[in-house]
């Protein structure tokens, strides 16, 4: 019975567990060229700690919650077990996962089989550098408590599974613009509320 359940899970997750060709065969009508073999994209970004705890997940291809847990479970098993001198790439179910360890955090990216791994490794580094600049020497705790900030930064770097901006300065400028706007909004709100408070006194 357990076996049956497992198969059902496997069969229902076309995007990651099947080779690209058959996925496009099966889902060709629904998603158009989404899975065509030429489209090179990042399928997901995953941050896990050395203990296998999830710190950040961003999915650019559709995965159900069940598939997500499965992916995380399997990948952390594979990646955390690898030796320090091994390559930063893992072939995994027809896809490739590029990972890099920073302190106790593993940054992982799932990419297509024929993409440039070294480049993706540098995209990870690019992301980390930007976070470092933003948080001021970033550490895992920053990500634990401010994961939503990390999401905002990631959204400025990657969009729809592609690198959208390679200039650190531009990204930093956008993020600050958003933050400052948010702050002014907050100030306004508080000043208005004090005015109201005073008026109603």
């Amino acid at each position: 019975m357990v076996g049956d359940g497992e198969i059902a899970i496997v069969a229902s997750c076309p995007s990651i567990f099947s080779v690209v060709g058959s996925a496009s065969l099966k889902f060709g009508d629904k998603a158009g060229d989404f899975h065509n073999k030429n489209a090179k994209m990042i399928h997901f970004v995953l941050l896990i700690s050395r203990q296998g705890k999830v710190r950040l997940t961003k999915w650019y291809s559709p995965y159900s919650q069940k598939e997500r847990s499965k992916v995380i479970r399997e990948l952390s098993g594979v990646i955390l077990a690898r030796g320090p001198k091994f390559c930063n790439f893992v072939e995994w179910g027809g896809y490739k996962v590029v990972y890099k360890r920073y302190a106790s955090l593993y940054f992982c990216m799932c990419i297509d089989h024929d993409d440039n791994e070294l480049e993706k490794l540098e995209i990870i580094h690019h992301f980390v550098e930007i976070m470092d600049r933003y948080f001021g020497s970033v550490c895992e705790l920053d990500l634990i408590f401010n994961f939503h900030k990390a999401y905002y930064i990631l959204d400025e770097i990657l969009i729809a599974g592609e690198l959208q901006e390679s200039s650190k300065k531009t990204v930093a400028r956008l993020i600050t613009a958003q933050d400052s706007l948010v702050e002014t909004a907050q100030e306004q709100a508080s000043s208005i509320s004090t005015i109201i408070a005073q008026a109603t006194k």
Binding site: E6, P14, N38, N88, G94, E117, E119, V128, S137, K149
Partner: protein, 983 residues
């Protein structure tokens, strides 16, 4: 010590006001961090979900509170739990006017919802509004959401606005608009087909970021149709030249490389455009040579660009000079100490040998090192390379290695892949029949249930038809060696079902063909198989059919068939089987046994598996029977399409397919209702509705309005009137039979099977310790065995001559390689113990702030941003912080550092947080065990997921169809026909 650092970090967080999060949330995050097990974590999260469920529905929640709840929902969902009860609140938050809340709302919905979620329709309106906002930040947020959420159905709703935003004054907006259009193109190419020129235009954007983003959609477009973009070759080359010459703003530099990410994208595009186009390629030569020279080989990003250059050079029309540079870089990669570069080198080599096979010879030893590396990833990549460079002279060594590796791994996905590669190589390059059969046996024995069914049928066909040459002697030799080896291994336990099927089929067809084995001997073996697999109906069916064939062949040559007692009992058992298929086969076997030689020869001709079966579509042999029936007064048959009412139905059906395409969602406002007069005039031109004009005019005026407004469905009138009939027909009507259907459905279902079998995969459990381990130290002394292996893999002209010799030479070469492996065993064990020793004194688990890599001197990039982290506690000696041996004086230093921290700002919470975070660290460092347990859990789960070969009806149907293709006996689908023939 490490704990203190964490406290410091937390204090700093506290002083920042925790980014506006409440203590409650911080506590949640902390308690999850402290959780000792997954179960505990789950319990905490479940509690949190309950709390949120309650709180989020309370009336009068402040927006600020709500925002925090949403972020907590994101957190819960991130940890793998279901937060769907709160999705609607996230959707509501996107409607808010304040950007702060709106942004949170958008973030949450993009994380929560996949593109096909029902709630998306509720966001479309907000997105539409936000795309028109004056504030570019609002527009950016909306565009980010567009990229994730807008699906094929909703593209038309936002498309016009997104296109408009291509001209937005802010480059950040233009860039996102481009990416959104790119996403639309991926989702539904037709929806943006008329807008493709926009991408070309944006290529000339002033902002390099926008230009860089435009390369993404252009890459896709060029990959789909390179010819219509050939005119852009010169532009791309120019851009690349400018980028390489550092003409872009400094802010695009990355580790002293000018805009490397843009360079890589351009190189990818050029590779597509120059593929098989000499003229286009010639434009690129200069700039490519330039990049080879300029790239910094010491940085990772420089190597990434160089690798992309190699890909480009190997794709475009070849230039000897560039190939030389590419080979140079490749050899540098292969010689590097970094595993990453070796990996890239192996990949690059795989590309270069396609153009010039000689390239590989120089790197023989490097490749063999990679093959024996303990790193699985590298090993697999190397197998990929070997697969590409297999030729008749080295096939034996390569396939042997592949099979050895295949046996050693647990990853089903990769096992399947490598098994099918082995089969492919063996079929293509097999030096002798014997070797081929042996190899196939090994593959099937170890991966039989994983390989595609098709592979098995291919093997049967190959044995039946031979290797294509018209050499009957060789073919029959192949068959008899197959039969011989199968009879030898048939008794082994635990053979995969698929392999047994092949064995049974071959024994049935050719078991007695060369007269070496008696019919009763083979039959006995087959009975044993059927007995040994009582639960496998398919194997039993194959076995019975094989017995039937052998008996039939015996009868044909006039020998008397004495049924063995075990065979008789098998027949008795199967005649009472639950499976009708098995029953059918058992009865057929009994019938065949009672027939005379002539009848048997006509139903079971010997060695007829290769003959094509002709299908008489018009069933002419039934003509007499039909005639007789007609004479007796039966109704003549009316072809289906001429039967009354049918013609209309098919029309309706095609219409029914047509109509939904015009349905879909409408995003523009409804047209103003037209005055009734107009509707009365409109229907007149509708010719199809003429017959029901009176009815439709009086009772269905609104329908007519619709018909008029959507002229393409002008026939909706009659369609709706007869709708009932259509439904009835679909449900009760005679299923249409078309004789060509089986073959087409056959092929597609095969593909499905293909997909299914490839769906299954598992975790890579590193088995690397078992592998012979050869250190990657510089080759001071290259063992002679290794050189021999190299010679057998890469063997140049000498070994090519060798392959012309008889198969004995092959066998000796195999013996040699075995010797190689054996002689390596001692060194392997030594090396692995060394390896273990190396691992043992590893420092205890690092804490959050410890950035030292466990082993020094690996791939830390020169500019590690985290280096500065260690300075958090003051610039005191970094190395002493990393090593846990810290002197007392230093720790007191650091404590005093804390004292200087703005403690007063945090106030009382400090006291609360300090002990908790102590625990936090302790617990975290205790967790590696948990992680290990997780790993075991993962691999255990995959053990439970083998491909199921059960009696899935569709499966068996397909198998049946396939079986018939390769000439296996009739089956349960045509029982009547069979008995009719027998009279």
């Amino acid at each position: 010590m490490e704990q203190l650092k964490t406290i410091g970090r937390e204090l700093a967080m506290g002083s920042q006001g925790g980014w506006g999060q409440s203590k409650e949330f911080l506590d949640l995050v902390k308690s999850i961090g402290e959780a000792r097990s997954k179960a505990e974590e789950d319990r905490i999260v479940m509690n949190e979900i309950e709390t949120l469920k309650r709180r989020i529905t309370e009336p009068d929640i402040t927006k600020r509170k709500m925002k925090e709840y949403i972020i907590r929902l994101v957190y819960v969902e991130m940890l793998g739990h279901d937060a769907s009860f709160g999705y609607i609140h996230a959707v509501k938050m996107t409607h808010d006017d304040s950007l702060l809340l709106k942004r949170t709302g958008y973030l949450a919905v993009t994380l929560f919802l996949n593109e096909d979620h029902d709630l998306i329709i509720l966001i479309v309106n907000t997105i539409q509004k936000d795309l028109k906002s004056d504030n570019y930040l609002v527009v950016s947020a909306a565009l980010t959401a567009v990229c994730k959420l807008i699906n094929e159905e909703t593209i038309p709703a936002v498309l016009p606005q997104v296109v408009e935003l291509l001209g937005h004054p802010k480059e950040a907006v233009r860039k996102k608009a481009i990416m959104a259009l790119h996403r639309f193109y991926q989702r539904a190419p037709s929806s943006v087909a008329h807008l493709l020129s926009n991408f070309r235009k944006r290529l000339c954007d002033n902002d390099p970021g926008v230009m860089g983003a435009t390369l993404c959609p252009l890459f896709d477009l060029i990959a789909a149709d390179a010819d219509s973009y050939k005119d852009l070759v010169i532009s791309f080359v120019n851009i690349l030249k400018q980028v390489a010459e550092c003409r872009l703003p400094k802010s695009y530099d990355y580790h002293q490389m000018p805009a490397p990410f843009i360079q890589i994208r351009l190189l990818k595009i050029l590779a597509l455009l120059g593929n098989g186009d000499k003229q286009a390629s010639e434009h690129m030569f200069t700039v490519l040579g330039d990049i080879f020279k300029r790239c910094d080989p010491s940085s990772n990003i420089g190597n990434a660009v160089l690798y992309e250059c190699i890909c480009c050079v190997s794709s475009i029309h070849s230039s000897p000079k560039l190939l030389e540079s590419a080979a140079e870089v490749t050899s540098r990669f292969l010689k590097s100490d970094s595993h990453n570069l070796k990996y890239m080198g192996i990949d690059a080599l795989g590309r270069l040998i396609k153009i010039n096979p000689e390239t590989a010879e120089e790197h023989q030893l490097a490749v063999i090192d990679c093959l024996e590396d303990p790193d699985d990833t590298l090993k697999r990549k190397t197998f990929e390379l070997l697969y590409k460079m297999t030729k008749p002279s080295n096939v034996e060594v390569i396939v042997d290695r592949m099979i050895d590796y295949m046996i050693s791994i647990n990853d089903n996905h990769y096992k399947t892949e490598i098994a099918s590669r082995c089969v492919e190589l063996a079929e293509q390059f097999a030096p002798s029949n014997q070797w081929f059969i042996q190899t196939m046996n090994k593959v099937f024995e170890h991966a039989g249930d994983l390989v595609n069914v098709k592979v098995a049928h291919n093997l049967m066909r190959l044995i039946a038809e031979g290797f294509g040459e018209d050499d009957e002697a060789a073919d029959s030799q192949l068959r008899s060696s197959a039969v011989e080896s199968y009879l030898r291994i048939i008794g082994e336990p635990k053979l995969p079902s698929l392999f047994l099927q092949v064995i049974c089929w071959v024994l049935g067809e050719y078991g007695t063909a060369d007269g070496k084995f008696s019919a009763s001997y083979v039959t006995g073996k087959l009975c044993d198989v059927a007995e040994a697999h009582p639960s496998d109906d398919i194997v039993k069916a194959y076995a019975v059919t094989a017995i039937m064939k052998i008996s039939a062949f015996e009868i044909e040559v006039g020998r008397k068939v004495e049924l063995l007692p075990e065979c008789q009992s098998l027949i008795d058992e199967l005649s009472a089987s639950h499976s009708t298929d098995l029953q059918q086969r058992a009865y057929e076997l009994q019938t065949v046994l009672s027939l005379d030689a002539r009848a048997v020869a006509s139903i079971m001709p010997s060695d007829a598996s290769c003959e094509d079966i002709e299908v008489h579509k018009s069933l002419p042999f039934l003509d007499g029977y039909v005639q007789e029936a007609l004479v007796k007064g039966a109704q003549p048959y009316i072809p289906q399409n001429e039967q009354s009412g049918m013609a209309n139905i098919s029309n309706f059906r095609s219409q029914a397919h047509h109509v939904p395409s015009t349905h879909g969602l409408r995003f523009e406002a409804y047209e103003l209702p037209q005055p009734p007069v107009a509707s009365r005039i409109q229907p007149v031109p509708l010719t199809a509705s003429k017959e029901l004009v009176p009815v439709s005019e009086t009772t269905y005026p609104q329908e007519n309005v619709r018909a008029a407004s959507v002229p393409s469905v002008s026939e909706t009138g009659p369609f709706e009137l007869k709708l009932q009939l259509d439904g009835v027909q679909k449900k009760w009507g005679r299923p249409t039979y078309s004789p060509t259907a089986p073959s087409t459905s056959n092929s597609s279902s095969q593909k499905a099977v293909n997909g299914v079998s490839q769906l299954v995969q598992g975790t890579v459990v590193s088995q690397t310790r078992n592998m012979p381990y050869d250190s990657r130290k510089p080759q001071v002394e290259v063992s002679s065995e290794k050189q021999k292996l190299a010679a057998s893999l890469f063997g140049g002209s000498s070994s090519k001559r060798e392959k012309r010799l008889t198969s004995t030479s092959h066998r000796t070469s195999r013996v040699q390689t075995h010797a190689v492996e054996k002689s390596q065993m001692p060194t392997a064990t030594v090396a692995s113990t060394e390896h273990a020793a190396e691992k043992a004194p590893q420092p205890p688990p690092l804490d959050l702030l410890d950035l030292g890599e466990p082993t020094p001197g690996d791939t830390i990039p020169p500019l590690d941003p985290f280096k500065q982290l260690e300075g958090l506690l003051g610039p005191s000696d970094v190395s002493s912080v990393a090593s846990s041996a810290v002197s007392v004086s230093k720790s007191s230093d650091i404590i005093s550092q804390y004292a200087e921290n703005p403690m007063s700002a945090v106030g009382g919470t400090v006291a609360n947080m300090a002990p908790a975070s102590f625990d936090y660290i302790n617990l975290l460092s205790g967790l590696p065990n948990l992680a290990n347990r997780d790993i075991h859990g993962g691999s255990a789960a995959t053990h439970v997921a083998p491909v199921k070969k059960g009696p899935n009806p569709q499966d068996s149907l397909e198998r049946d169809a396939l079986a018939r293709q390769v000439g296996v006996t009739p089956s349960s689908t045509s029982p009547n026909l069979f008995s009719d023939l027998l009279g």
